[in-house]
Symmetry: D2
Subunit: 270 residues, 4 copies
C-alpha cells in the first residue's frame, strides 16, 4: 500500500498484484480484509486488472490492480450473463475446485503431501474474502446489488481451477442465444475459449486442458428440469491469475500485442 | 425387473441394487430412465433402502430398493433441513465431487488413466437421472414439491464422494439450532457422524476420512453475507452406496445388529 | 539413548523405535550416523526387532530395537536367499519406491504438495544410512560380509513401499525351488504373503494391496537372459515399519497372539 | 515391414516408428519378438534412430528406425560409460519407473483408473523385449557382449520415465572425471541436460521437469560404500520416445535445425 502510494508520485505505471487496490470502496475493503484502508482516496485511481472487462481503461491506467485466480474464474463466465440481465441475481452459486499451487510456496500441514494428496476439502465454504471483488465487478456490470454464494474446494491437482456456477434464469432462453451472448461479449478477447461438445470425454472446460496457458475456457448447459443455467470455467491459476493478468495488462498498457509472452499451447494428456 | 417380479411370488425377501424399484411413481421412472416400467403395480410394494430414513419400513419390507452413492450423499444432509422447513425448496444446489470407482469396473476412455488422472470433469451438469430419486425422497419428507439443481464432477480420487449443498434459508437460524436439528433427526443412526471444527485442516467432511467405511460424515456452515446454509457430506461410494446399504438393510430385515459387517475404522493418512 | 540406559536399570522391557540400538557394532553406528555411540557396551543387550528373523530372541528380550520401513522391505525378501547361499553377495541391488508418509509429519518444501505430487525423485541414490542395518542383518544370516547397493526413490504415493531387488544367481535354480526356500524360511510367519501370478494385473507385490496392513507381500521372477533373480516386496510403511513391528514384538514379548491388533484386511481398489 | 520394403523401392526417405528395423541381427529380432523377420536382408540398410548416437548416419540414411522411450532412457545415460570402458558389463541393472501414457491410447483393466491410480507395479521384471535393443546399442559402442538386467515399473504418473541405472565400476574414478566423460560424449547434443545439485529438492533428473519437452536429463552419484556409480535419466515418454526422435531425425535428414519444433520449455510446478 505504501509502495503504491510512493510510486504514484513518480512517472511509473504500476501493476499491483496484491489485494490493496482491487476495491472501489474502502468500506468493502475493510469488510473483507478486516482492516481500514490507509489511502482510501487512491482507490478511485486504480483499474481492476481483468483485461476482458476493462481493456480500454487498462490501456490508459496509471495503476492496475490485478485480480487473483478465483475471482477471475468466477467473474469471466458470469459477466455476460449479468450484463444481459439473464439470471436471478439473488441466487448465484459459485462452487470452485482448486489445485494445491493456489496456496503458494509456503509449506504447512495443509499442503503436506500425506494430508493434501487425494483431498477433497472445503476450507472456506462461507465468508471467503474474494466474494467482495466478485460482487463488486458483477455489480458494476449490471448496475444492481449482486450477492453471491461462493465455496471453494481444494482437490487433488497441482495447477488449475474449475469453477461451476449454478444460476437461475429470469426467463427462458435458447441455447443458441446463450452462445450469442458469450461470443458477442468476448468478441475481442483472445484468451477466452469455449468448450461445449455433444460427445466425447472433453465436453466442458477442464483445468488439464489449460495447464500452462493463459486461457479461460468457458462452457455451459441449460437445465430442462428447472430454469437453470450451469456455466463452467477452467483456468490455470498460476497463469490466468494475477501473474498472467499482469503480463496481459502490461502488454495493453504499453501498446504491445496483448498475447505477447502468453501465447503457448497446452499439453495433452497432462 | 422380471427377476424381482418372480421373486416376489416366493417367500424370499428381496434387496434390489438396481434402479428398477426406487421410484414410487411409474411416471417419474419413465421420465428419468426413458422407458416405461413393466410392473408399475409393484412399485408400491418396495421400500427405498436408505436406513436412516426408512428404518422401520425396511425391517418389515418384502422388497427393498437400495439407492446408490450419489443420491445417498445428497439426501442424507438435506433430509433434516427439508423436514424442518428450514430452507427454500426452489433453490437447492447440489454440487458433487466423485472418484473414479463410481464408474464401475468397465474400462473405457473416460476411465483410461492418462485421461482420467488429474481430471476435474463435469460430465452431466444437468439432467442426471438420480435427480428424480432425490426429489422424490425430499418431497416425501416435506409433503411439498421439491426441485433440485444437481451437478456431479469427476475428480482425481478412486473412492469417495464429497457433496456440497448450497441452500438458502427461509428465516434466520443459529448454529446451535442447526446442530439440534441434525442430532435429533439422526439420533439412532450409527453411521451418521458430524465433522465441524473451528480449526485444523479437517474442519469439514472429507472422503479420505471415510474411505473403506459405511459412514456418512456431515458438516455445515452458515453464511453471514447472504442467508445461506452450506451443508456437506462425505461417503465412500463403494461402501455407503448401494453395497453398504444392502448389508445395512439386510441386518435390519433379519433383526441383526445394524452395524454388523460394517463397523470398520478408516485409515489416516489415506 | 539416555532413556534406554535408564530404563534398562528398571524391570521394564523396552521397545525402542529409534535407530540407537539397531546396530551390533559401535563402529557401524558411528559410520552411518556420524557420531559416537554413548553406550557401546549396551548394544549387545538389544535384539533387532524384526520378528520374522528373531522371533525367539524377541520373546525373551529386555531391549528390542525395531527397524524402520525401508530395511524391513529389503531384508525380508533377501533373507531366505542369502541364508541359502543362492546369490552373489557382491552384486545385490536394492531399488525402493516409497510414499510421502515415510518422511514423517513435518511439512517442508520436499513434501509441499505442488513439489511432491507427481514426483519420481531420487533423493539419496548412494550412502543412505539404512544400508548399514541391511548389511548387518544379511551378514549375520550368511556369516559373510555383505555389501548392498541401495537407492530409494520418492514417488507419488502416500502409504507404501515397493522394493525391487536385483540379484545375480551363483548357480542355476528352478522356480519351484525358489518357492520352497521362501515357504520353508517363513513357515511360521503370519505376515508374510506371496504374490506371483501368471496373469492379470496383480501378478507381483504392490503397496496398494497392503495399505493399512502389517503384511509384507513377496514375489519373484527368474531371468532367462542372464542368471538373475528379481525379488520384490510391498509393505505399508506406516504399519510394517517400526510401528507395526513394535506391536508385533510386544505381542511376542508378552506371550500374546503375534497377530493381535494387526490382523486387518486391506481395501481394493485403494 | 511390408510397407517399409515397398517404400525402400521409391525415392522416399523413411522414418519407421515400429520395432521392425531396430535390430541389426535377424536372430535377435526373432529372439525378442518371437517371430522370424521377413526381410532380414534389409536390416543392414536401417540406422537406429537415436540422434545422440548416430547423428551422421541418420543425416544420410534412407531408413531410420526410431527407438521408443524405455530404450532411450537406458541407452543415453549408459553410452558414455560403456564407450569409456568404465563399468562392469556383466552387472548393469536398469530399473525404470514409467507413467501410464506409455501404454498407449487403448483402455483396458491395467489402465483403468481405479486400478492404475496409485499403482507401483512391476509388470515385466524379466524378459522385457526392449532388452535386446539396449544390449545391441551398448554392444556396438564397446565392441563387447553386453547383457543387461532391466525391470520397468508402472507408477502413478501420466507422462514420463525415470530410469535408475546401477553400475559397478571397473576401477576407481573421481566425480570430475565422470563429468568430463559425459560432457565430452554429448558435446553437440542440444537435448542432453545434466541435473546434479548438492542441495535443494531437485538434485537429480525428474520426469516432472522434462514434461512436454524433448530433453533427456541425466544425473549421477558415486557410491563410497561399494565401487558403484548410479546414473539416472528422466524423459517425457510422449516426446523423447519414438515421436520426438522421429522429428529430431527428420530435422537431421533434411538438413534442418535439429531442434526445430522441439525447443519448448517445461512447466514448474507440474
Amino acid at each position: 500500500m505504501d509502495y503504491v502510494k510512493s510510486f504514484l508520485e513518480t512517472d511509473a505505471r504500476i501493476i499491483d498484484l496484491s489485494a490493496d487496490f482491487r476495491f472501489r470502496s474502502a468500506n468493502e475493503y475493510a469488510k473483507w480484509y478486516g482492516t481500514e484502508h490507509k489511502y482510501p482516496e487512491l482507490l478511485e485511481r486504480a483499474v481492476y486488472g481483468l483485461p476482458e472487462l476493462h481493456k480500454e481503461a487498462i490501456k490508459k491506467a496509471k495503476l492496475v490492480a490485478c485480480p487473483g485466480c478465483l475471482p477471475t474464474s468466477a467473474i469471466l463466465p458470469l459477466a455476460p450473463l449479468v450484463t444481459n440481465k439473464l439470471i436471478d441475481l439473488e441466487h448465484i452459486v459459485i462452487d470452485s475446485k482448486i489445485g494445491s499451487s493456489a496456496g503458494g510456496h509456503k509449506a504447512d500441514l495443509s499442503t503436506h503431501h500425506p494430508e493434501r494428496a487425494g483431498a477433497v476439502r472445503s476450507y472456506k465454504p462461507t465468508g471467503h474474502r474474494h466474494i467482495g471483488e466478485i460482487e463488486q465487478e458483477l455489480g458494476i456490470l449490471t448496475n444492481e446489488k449482486v450477492k453471491v454464494a461462493f465455496s471453494p474446494h481444494a482437490i487433488e491437482l497441482i495447477r488449475g481451477i474449475m469453477t461451476t456456477i449454478h444460476t437461475y434464469l429470469k426467463k427462458e432462453i435458447k441455447e443458441v442465444d446463450v452462445w450469442k451472448i458469450y461470443r458477442s461479449f468476448y468478441a475481442n478477447c483472445p484468451f477466452i475459449r469455449y468448450v461445449k461438445e455433444k460427445e466425447g470425454i472433453h465436453r466442458y472446460p477442464e483445468p488439464k486442458n489449460v495447464a500452462g496457458t493463459n486461457f479461460c475456457d468457458i462452457g455451459f448447459e441449460l437445465d430442462s428440469n428447472i430454469p437453470r443455467l450451469v456455466v463452467m470455467s477452467a483456468i490455470d491459476n498460476l497463469v490466468k491469475g494475477s501473474g498472467g493478468q499482469a503480463i496481459q495488462c502490461m502488454n495493453l498498457m504499453f501498446n504491445l500485442d496483448e498475447k505477447m509472452g502468453l501465447w503457448v499451447p497446452s499439453l495433452h494428456p497432462a
